[in-house]
Symmetry: C3
Subunit: 417 residues, 3 copies
Amino acid sequence: MDQVSLAVNEVWLVVAAVLVMFMQAGFALVEAGFTSARNAGNIIMKNFMDFSVGAVTYWAFGFALAYGSSSLGGFLAWGEVFWFNDPSRASEWFFQVVFAATAATIISGAIAGRVKFSSYLLYTPFITGLIYPIVTHWVWGGGWLAELGFFDFAGSGVVHMLGGVAALAAVLVVGPRVGKYDENGKPRAIPGHSLTHGALGVFILWFGWYGFNAGSTLAAVGQNIAVPAVTTTLAAAAGAIGAMFVAWAITGKPDVGFTINGVLAGLVGVTAGTASVSFGASILIGLIGGALMVGSVIFLERVGVDDPVGAISVHGTVGVWGVVAVALFSDDASLGPQLVGAAAIIAWAFALSFIVFKAIDLTAGLRVSREEEATGLDISEHGNYAYPEFVFQHEVVDLVEAANGDEGRRRAPAAGA
Amino acid sequence: MDQVSLAVNEVWLVVAAVLVMFMQAGFALVEAGFTSARNAGNIIMKNFMDFSVGAVTYWAFGFALAYGSSSLGGFLAWGEVFWFNDPSRASEWFFQVVFAATAATIISGAIAGRVKFSSYLLYTPFITGLIYPIVTHWVWGGGWLAELGFFDFAGSGVVHMLGGVAALAAVLVVGPRVGKYDENGKPRAIPGHSLTHGALGVFILWFGWYGFNAGSTLAAVGQNIAVPAVTTTLAAAAGAIGAMFVAWAITGKPDVGFTINGVLAGLVGVTAGTASVSFGASILIGLIGGALMVGSVIFLERVGVDDPVGAISVHGTVGVWGVVAVALFSDDASLGPQLVGAAAIIAWAFALSFIVFKAIDLTAGLRVSREEEATGLDISEHGNYAYPEFVFQHEVVDLVEAANGDEGRRRAPAAGA
Amino acid sequence: MDQVSLAVNEVWLVVAAVLVMFMQAGFALVEAGFTSARNAGNIIMKNFMDFSVGAVTYWAFGFALAYGSSSLGGFLAWGEVFWFNDPSRASEWFFQVVFAATAATIISGAIAGRVKFSSYLLYTPFITGLIYPIVTHWVWGGGWLAELGFFDFAGSGVVHMLGGVAALAAVLVVGPRVGKYDENGKPRAIPGHSLTHGALGVFILWFGWYGFNAGSTLAAVGQNIAVPAVTTTLAAAAGAIGAMFVAWAITGKPDVGFTINGVLAGLVGVTAGTASVSFGASILIGLIGGALMVGSVIFLERVGVDDPVGAISVHGTVGVWGVVAVALFSDDASLGPQLVGAAAIIAWAFALSFIVFKAIDLTAGLRVSREEEATGLDISEHGNYAYPEFVFQHEVVDLVEAANGDEGRRRAPAAGA
């Protein structure tokens, strides 16, 4: 390729990857905003480590398992890119590592508020170094699912469904938060501490998703990079609308949390077919994605799966929908291979994640103590409050006693407060 | 055009549009930060719906009315892009839809804290589908104002003045917030709940504005895309400086809110002439824009126009200035057509917005009850607090009573608290 | 150069500059989040003015002193770009002005909470107009350090070390915050008011840093722009990991503040060699940078240098490391010139900044009164609270008295609260 075309493609791919990288900030804000203020710092730490440990792992072996020069039976790659140091593939690595980090970061929200930080750290290398890269080899690295005709343009299945399923495995191992269910097993609402942070996070994710979907063209010359941008816009919009009206019908109010998660559902839904489906179809995919997400959140909460941010529904449930939708609304995929691929990725991601989390649980221990959970992970795991100057609802009785001369002390929010 | 040039132009236009899209996050944060914590979730919902409903409307008919293949008398376009599905115009649609959403979102801040969410939803399709697209046809679609010689490179008038004027119409219909004026009609300051969110919002808007202004070249090959970036930088900087010193002279302090709104004023002011005026002139335009904004905010507050975020002044008043300034500081425009164009856009945007808001008011009702307004729209309209774990000033008496054994309950901030 | 290549390079440089501009938001959030809520508005004002005053100053004379057409003895430039108005150099100016603003903004965090706003305003033009441009002439404008073989690809030394050293000078003149040290001179921890804001700020800085490092190629055609993106990613990741484990070893907990500052340390460390070092070396540079930063923060705090956000350590100490590391890990630099260059820049930046701050201190006065410091700069300097609706820890006694019928009033947080 001539030097100018190469430069155009590199500019596009690097800019797209930078946008995807920024999605990490979006995930951190959504997860922190949708959960308690006493765990905000811990959420942040997990998000920074997802990317940091993830990048180093992907440099050491993840990239090689996905895109090394030879394929071992279509199952995993192997070759010269361990301890990655090939400048000619730098843009490729950069675009792939931010995807790997996205898959990893989906999990931290689902298990917010109750997992030991040190144990969480043990899991991160598995997803960015092993579970995710091998699936990308199957689909994008010329592996067995690619041979079979499985099609997933930007990763509804490869990234989001995989992350959502791993999150489900993690939640099943670690169990619900203390106070999430009453003595009769009825779920209690535990609202997040900042809708503003949650909303900003969703806007950042939407913004970064243009890099995710349109950047998956991997080049600009000879590609129509604006088509995925349009379907991404319309599906996100429709996802918000669909989720809002369904939630409105069910709860009687246009709920903020469901609506903004609807944006993410629309985005996840269209990701597989973002360059394939018509613009009208992308609206339909978004609407259904938003509605599905609301149903999935309500269902999972009822059956005892405590996912504070809705990550399993947004990425897992709607990820499946995305993989199916591209077969329904375009000629680039057909239903059979899509279902086989979805089943294979689900089985792989669930089984391996379950085994790893279970192994961590049986050795290092996965869950913090009830006291630490009640105190909040920020102070018990990291030694600092996220918002030390502000007064919280749960503190008021203490503070009044202190004001009246009794012994009072700074206490963290009670679980479920 | 050759394939490589096409790719360069597409990369530029798509990246610019993505930056403009992110301005929605900026608007949401500015509007939420500058108003009460008890309405933050509602503001967020309105901003998400501005873009979501706007995108679907613009797909269905807004784009066709602006840029369809034939022009009906220079007044509106018509043609084959209803239910838009033309991949070859995808980048064009994408760049235009984010502009339409910008025009829409200007209004939500001005009427913060007192409008029914369901009624607000009724207005959104009008601005993104009808009011705004028809004006873009006049100016950018080869319509009658373009014929007349009206010049507005990136939309000081077409987008910002239009949005600001629509906001004025909305405020006149809905009236001021409860508690904004005392019994003698004297305005009371109601500070916003988070300067940090407001400031981040302004930075995001500044960031996105490079897409707005420099992206309005619509292409990179053969264009100087850096000139608008420089004038945008200097006008924003000068706007902050101008607003700060004028506010300092008037109030005795360098006020944060005025200063950061000064950035926006500088940006709005330079938008029409961003590719035309000299770098020195862009500083002057920004300085005057910032000063004008401060004067306009103070004036409007005194005459009973309650605009909590200053949107009418920032976008409306300074939008007029931008349309005029390009004639004063460049040869690309002359004063006559600019004044005719400004008058026409103002008349159109004000009349239609007033009629639509009045019609909604007389049918569905535009305003929430006094009780709902006092409680806050987050809980009354959406069923959730934005910050449920934090203690607010107005709650303290209740909480102390509760601590002392009396009946106390979680109450929302009183109006004007 | 042909028109298409030119366009590709312009798109790349403008997009990169826009990313760097957004770093201003990151600095504002890091500095606000890491300090008290009673000074958040003041921090924001300083950040907006760093960029605003900086841009106008750089337009008037800063750019000419750095990149004017003739060099006066290799010490400073001179020529026709005073009152800059050359469209053909617009992208160059734009990329340089955002670097100048970065250097300026490093200082505001280090002196947070105790400096008169009007006096701070006096310093800003010196750094963006004089101190920084002259150093850039030395290194990037073909000046004496370039002649000597000093190498600093994207500014570990030219931007960050310079900013960090200027911050040290400022802190030495202004002294520590009231309450930072007890009567025995032992430092007290004063945690920041929002880890979420701090973390978002770091993510934004990381995001913008891709423009800073990869954009320093200054062109895309014939360059490998992805190599700096990869080293930037790996060094940031390793910086977080290095800082976290070192802090964990020292304090017993994986501290959030140290970890996220570790990202910045990794970034500062790799900036000089971002296009030169191997990918593996970038990890090592980041790890060491993160560890160095933790040590430097602890050391400076002990010796009485009160830098609330760690700016001197992150930018100054690790800036030196970056300048040295490029000599250790690549052939593009050698140790002798690097050490001479570092010493020259340190001497210049420290001496001039110290003189300017001292002169301001002796004339206008640099420091607010103890009362103003205790009240907080937001209310004393700017007349508004950043978060007026929220209740703060220090207010509770007052509010309880008020609730009990006594005279109570809204008071700002006490110093060190």
